[in-house]
Structures are given as C-alpha cells and as structure tokens.
Amino acid sequence: MSSKIAVQVDDLTVAYNYKPVLWDIDLEIPEGVLMAIVGPNGAGKSTLIKSILGILKPIAGSVSIYGKSYDKQRSLVAYVPQKGSVDWDFPTTALDVVMMGTYGSLGWIKRPGQKEKKAALEALEQVGMLPFKNRQISQLSGGQQQRIFLARALVQDASIYFMDEPFQGVDATTEIAIINILKALRKANKTVIVVHHDLQTVPEYFDWVTFLNVKKIATGPVKDIFNDDNLTKTYGINYKVSIQK
C-alpha cells in the first residue's frame, strides 16, 4: 500500500432541513484500500458517499480526490448506487445498462460505438453475467441486478469505487463473486469504499474501516480499530461480535 491519499474529506457537514445527518466529518482514505463504512441505520453512510460524489450538497466542508476537487477528477471515480434506487421495470437490457458506464467518458451527444460495446461485454464477463447480456433487466434476480450495477462501474475503469450496500439482498454465491471482484480491484491498487451492514464479515472482507454515526467515530486499519470499544461507541449499545484474528 502506498501512502498516497486517494480521498480526503474536510469538515463535511450535511443536513436535511434542520437535522444534521453528518457532522464535521474529517476523513482520509489512503490509496489501494478496501474500506467498509459501518454504522447504524440513519448514521449517514449513504449520505457520506453521496456528498463526496456531489449528488447531495453539503452545508460546509470540502472533498478532494487525489488533491484536486471532485469536479476535475470525476473520471477517476465510479459509483454503484443502491439497487433499490432505480426502477428495474425500465425497458432496457443488461448490456444496455452496463453501457451506461461508458457515457461519462463519451460526454454529451456522442454515441457509444464498438469500442464501448466491447468494454461493456468484458465487464459483463468479469461479473459472470455474459449469458444474460440481452436479458430484460426486470427479469434478472436481485443478485444479478447487483452484478449488472457492478459491471457498469467496472466499465468506467476508475481508480476509486464507491459502492452503496452492494451486498444487500444478494445470495451467498453473488456475495462471494462480488467480494472477489473487489479484492481483485484492490490488488490492482484501486481504492474501494463500501457501505456495509454485516459486521461479522468486516474483518474477512476489508482491510480498512470507518465507523460512522453522524459523527466519525474512528477510521483506520481493521486489525487496529475493529474492536468492541469502537462498535459500542458507534452503535450505542454494548455491541459484541466475535472477531476472528
């Protein structure tokens, strides 16, 4: 792992109406880590990702990607939204959705061509969804839909990946398939940031973790800070998980 900082967040504060959702978050994410963001419901995990990506406007604070503003570094960043955030009855195919990953580099008006199609097919292959490329997206299972979303992000060929609960509602096979892809990304020195819910799997899947509950509780290597003390601070109750070391 190099010591470069991939994502830096300073004094980020976000509020819906009067209620602060994120309060004064400072965060440094080093390059090449596979990081989980954990915290209870309503802790602002999705909000954190969305404000880093500029989907939500923070009240205060700044975000930089490799030392420059996000707007300039957009092409380095890929996003996997929550599966439930879109209408899966939309009339389109799996391949078409993955192709959307190429729209960003194409820019306005220009249409995707053979090169983009080839990239999309490769990404589908990577997530094991190539046989389903012409399948109507409403006829895919939840796990398959999640893989399609992942493939769409892979097509972007970014350096930093933000994923909002990619393991939500998927079966064990898909979970393993996804985590293997994430680990391969880390091996290629990419930075992956994942909103995660299953505390049991944190030590197994991730090497970096951020505890979040409106405020940042702790951030650092899993082996140093993933302990009962931080879990209790984050979840409020006396939370104990068996951590395999």
Binding site: S85, F90, P91, G107, R111
Partner: protein, 344 residues
C-alpha cells in the same frame, strides 16, 4: 413520442397538469391582444404551461409534498384561474370572444395551414433533439444520481425534456383541448410499453400509435356530423391501449392467462407422470402393468391427464391397467434435470 418519457418517469399526471396550466395563458393572451390569432394564444399557453411546470418542480424539491399533491394543486389552481378568466372574457362586449372555449375540448376544424406547418416544424425539432440527446435522456430516466456522477448536468437534461413535453402539449391543445390532452400524451406510450422491452422501440411505437389515433380519429369525426375531433381521437387512442393491455404477447392479460393455464396443465401432467414413475421404478420391467385404481390416491390425476399421457405415448392402457412406456420413463428421468436447467 414524448409521452414515453412522462410515463417512464412515473409523472404521467404531469401532462394533465401542464395542459390545464396552459388555460390561463390562453385567456391572458386573449385579454392582452383582444384577437383570436392562434399563435399568440399558444404562446400564452406555452408561457403559463412552463410556469406551472416549474412551480410543480419547485414544490416537489422545496417542500415535503409528494409529486401527486404538487401536480393536483397546480392543476386545479391554474385551471380554476383559467376558467375565471374565461367567464370574465365571456361577459365582455367583444364579438371575438366566442370560440375561446374550443381550447377546453379542442376542435381540429379550426386548424389552418400555418398551424399544421408549425406542428410539423416542432415535431421535427423534437425528433432531432431526441436523437441527439437519446443517451442522456435514457440515463436520466433510468438512474439520475448515477448520471450526475458521470458528469452530466441532470438539471439541464431534465429541463430540456420537460420543456419539450410542455411544447408538445401546447401544440396539441388546439386539436384535443385542455381536458383531454394528457390522454393524447399518455395513451400511445402506455400502449407501446405493452409491446416492447426496448426504449427506442417504445418511443417509435408510441409515435406510430399517436399518429394513427390522430388520423383515424379525424377521419371518423369527419365522416360523421356533430362528432368533435378531440374526443374521437382520444377514444381511438384508448382503444389502442385496451387492445394492447389484452393482446400484447408478453405483458398482455390474455396471453398471460393462457400461459398460466398451460403451465398448470403441464405441471399436472408431469406430476402424474412422476407419480407413475415412482411406482414403476420399483419393478424390474418399467412397463410392468398396474391398475388405474392406485392412481386415485393421487390428487393431480384425472381421466383427462391419463388420456393426454396416452396421446403423448408416455403410457399405454390395457383395460384397467396402465403401464409406462420406455419413452415415458425417459421423459420423467429427464424432467428433474430440465427443471434444474430452467432455474439457472
């Protein structure tokens, strides 16, 4: 054509709200100019339609109200205001005022050549914009947040789509009228959605259905006296929708029901067959005859299913006895494997 986008955005009522919101614009334009020149009136409609639309957007983003509430609110507010102005105009001693109410229900007969040209030009413009920004429209409709992260200014695309929807509605007002316009926008799109799973095909079909309803509707109302065009067009479009709901191959009610019944029959047959299989496999010779009576214990069994099995050569009957054929035996053995393959 543009209706497809409204339907897919789950903002079907937007069209209704816009067309109603256009009414005060027409009235005000008339009050200001005192003439019934259709282009000026439509300009008024366009302006007030746009104002209505952006108010709706404002209400949705700035308050906690749901979009249907915002739509309903603006719809009735603008329509009420428009009606107020219309009744006020009717009391005025201006001979010109007669006929303004045609915008309520539409009257194709009042179209003149220049109107038709205007429509053609705007339609062409819509088509060009649609082709140019196809990719952007698609991604905005499917996943707005994601489009944002790719660097597209979603607000711009959104305003572009909405403006064109408003434009299309305002142009249709003269033909179909304020009250029925939203049907004109949505019916072809709803019908088209039934037939296809591809966005481009859906938009194309919607345009086709829309054009057909227009032509048929006008033809029917021209053939009969006293049939106003707008409602006839809308009824024709609705017939398209009904037909599509029932007869479209994938999503249609009829074929879905037929498939459902067929699947059930197949399953019944398979169950009977596998029940027989379980009995038969206890014997050395798979075609060892058994009495039909033992099948009575099994629920899926009827005389009909037995006959079908015989027809398919899976079973042979001999008096009160049945026996499984080689073919039947193999079919059952493969049944489970096939089922597994299908599930994959």
């Amino acid at each position: 054509m543009l209706g497809s986008f409204a339907v897919l955005r789950k903002q079907s009522l937007l069209g209704d709200a816009i067309s109603h919101a256009a009414l005060p614009g027409i009235a005000i334009a008339f009050l200001l100019t005192g003439a019934k020149e259709s282009n000026t009136l439509l300009l008024g409609a366009l302006v007030s339609g746009l104002i209505g639309t952006f108010w709706i957007r404002g209400i949705i983003t700035k308050t906690h109200l749901k979009s249907d509430t915002a739509l309903g609110l603006i719809l009735s507010l603008f329509f009420g205001f428009g009606m107020l102005l219309l009744t006020f105009i009717q009391k005025q001693p201006n001979a010109n005022q007669a006929g303004l109410d045609k915008y309520l229900f539409g009257q194709a007969a009042t179209l003149v050549e220049s109107d038709v040209w205007l429509m053609a030009i705007v339609t062409g413009l819509c088509l060009i914009v649609l082709l140019l920004f196809w990719k952007e429209f698609k991604i905005l409709l499917f996943d707005k947040d994601y489009a944002n992260t790719l660097g597209f200014n979603t607000k711009t695309i959104d305003i572009l789509i909405t403006s064109f929807i408003v434009l299309a509605i305002v142009l249709g007002l003269q033909t179909v009228g304020v009250v029925l316009m939203s049907a004109m926008l949505l019916a072809p799109a709803a019908a088209a959605r039934q037939w296809t799973n591809s966005l481009s095909m859906m938009v194309f079909l919607a345009a086709l259905f829309g054009a057909f309803s227009g032509v048929f509707g006008t033809a029917i109302s021209a053939a009969q006296n006293n049939l106003s065009t707008g409602p006839v067009i809308v009824i024709v479009a609705s017939v398209f929708v009904m037909f599509s709901f029932i007869f479209s191959p994938n999503r249609g009610l009829l074929f879905r029901q037929i498939r459902f019944i067929k699947n059930r029959r197949d399953l019944e047959l398979h169950k009977t067959l596998s029940f027989m299989f379980n009995i038969a496999k206890t014997h050395e010779n798979i075609s060892h005859p058994h009495t039909i009576k033992i099948l009575n214990n099994f629920q899926g069994y009827t005389k009909g299913t037995l006959k079908k099995l015989v027809d398919k050569n899976y079973v042979t009957l001999n008096g009160n006895m049945w026996s499984l054929t080689q073919e039947g035996f193999e079919t059952v053995s493969n049944l489970y494997n096939q089922q597994l393959k299908k599930d994959e």
